[in-house]
């Protein structure tokens, strides 16, 4: 039984197995045009890896992240704007795929929070000053 368990452990394959195929062409290759590569890099830093969800596709070694880098570089090389590629992915996977906060109504409290807090702080200071003066 113990031998069987040991054998099973050795033979067990991880659930998220990787394929036997080599990485896509642009997964680990930089674009020859430095300006385009910089654009691609900046975008890849802000796209979430769909497999290891805490990482960006620029950081992740997951195959799907490699395929997404391939997609980003291919489209940038074809002259597409980073914003269009981001919009294409958001259209398929939702806002969560992009790390850049959106200006959607649901995010308005987030953008308003610093202003509200500053106003609140100013009101408190004003109240304090008025009290010390009187």
């Amino acid at each position: 039984m113990r031998l069987f368990a040991a054998l099973a452990l050795i033979l067990a394959t991880p659930l998220l197995a990787q394929s036997n195929m080599p990485p896509s062409y642009w997964a680990y290759r930089q674009l020859p045009d430095a300006r385009q590569e910089a654009q691609a890099q900046a975008l890849m830093q802000e796209l979430r890896c769909l497999v290891c969800q805490g990482q960006s596709i620029a950081d992740s070694d997951a195959e799907l992240a490699g395929d997404m880098r391939d997609l980003v570089r291919r489209r940038i090389a074809a002259g597409e704007k980073p914003g269009e590629i981001r919009a294409w992915l958001i259209d398929r996977y939702g806002d969560w795929v992009s790390y850049r906060p959106s200006a959607a109504p649901i995010a308005w409290p987030l953008w308003a929070a610093p202003i509200v807090l500053l106003l609140f702080g100013a009101a408190m200071v004003a109240g304090r000053l008025k009290r010390t003066r009187s």
């Binding site: 659930l15 394929s19 497999v51 398929r92 996977y93």
Partner: protein, 175 residues
């Protein structure tokens, strides 16, 4: 300052901490669902995954009757568990098309030799480009596509025997 106004920051902080605690207790669901449900299948054209078998184009999916589009791979372990369930669905008359993700013809052929081939057409997606266009994140995944070529449902993960009645009901629903 009135008493109520002075309590306001405390109420606010308690509310924020309460939200944090609630979200921490809640088991997190990190499934990323495709946003394409109830929208047209994106246009694509894939070569055949097996030599001599028909290729798969997005137009092949709009045939007037609902069908399943199953994303699988020969290197995917849960796909092995799903294979007999797909064959069961095929026996019930369900039309299933497949997309092999990051796969080679020989590996796909070996997979079918061992686990059976329930597919009408099988496309080969060597760099996950169609998978990304579909808003899918892994294998296996199955989309229900109605007769007009509109995606109506996404099933993430292997279809288990207990999922079959639900899948059949949804197929009937979109007929």
């Amino acid at each position: 300052m009135s008493r109520a106004l002075r309590l306001l920051p405390i109420i606010f902080i308690v509310w924020v901490l309460g939200t944090f605690a609630w979200k921490l207790i809640q088991p997190s669901d990190t499934t990323i669902r495709s946003q394409l449900v109830n929208r047209d299948v994106p246009a694509f054209e894939l070569p055949a995954a097996l030599p001599g078998s028909p290729p798969l184009r997005s137009d092949d999916l709009a045939t007037g009757e609902p069908r399943l589009l199953n994303l699988f791979a020969s290197w995917c372990v849960p796909c092995i568990a799903e294979a007999p369930v797909l064959e069961d669905l095929q026996r019930r008359g369900v039309k299933i098309d497949g997309i092999a993700i990051r796969d080679t013809p020989s590996a796909v052929a070996a997979f079918f030799d061992r686990h059976g081939n329930p597919y009408v057409r099988i496309g080969s997606d060597r760099n996950s480009s169609v998978q990304l266009a579909m808003g899918s994140v892994g294998v296996p995944e199955t989309f229900i596509i109605d007769g007009k070529g509109v995606i109506r449902f996404q099933h993430i993960g292997p279809i288990k025997p207990e999922d079959v009645p639900g899948i059949m009901a949804r197929l009937e629903q979109v007929r």
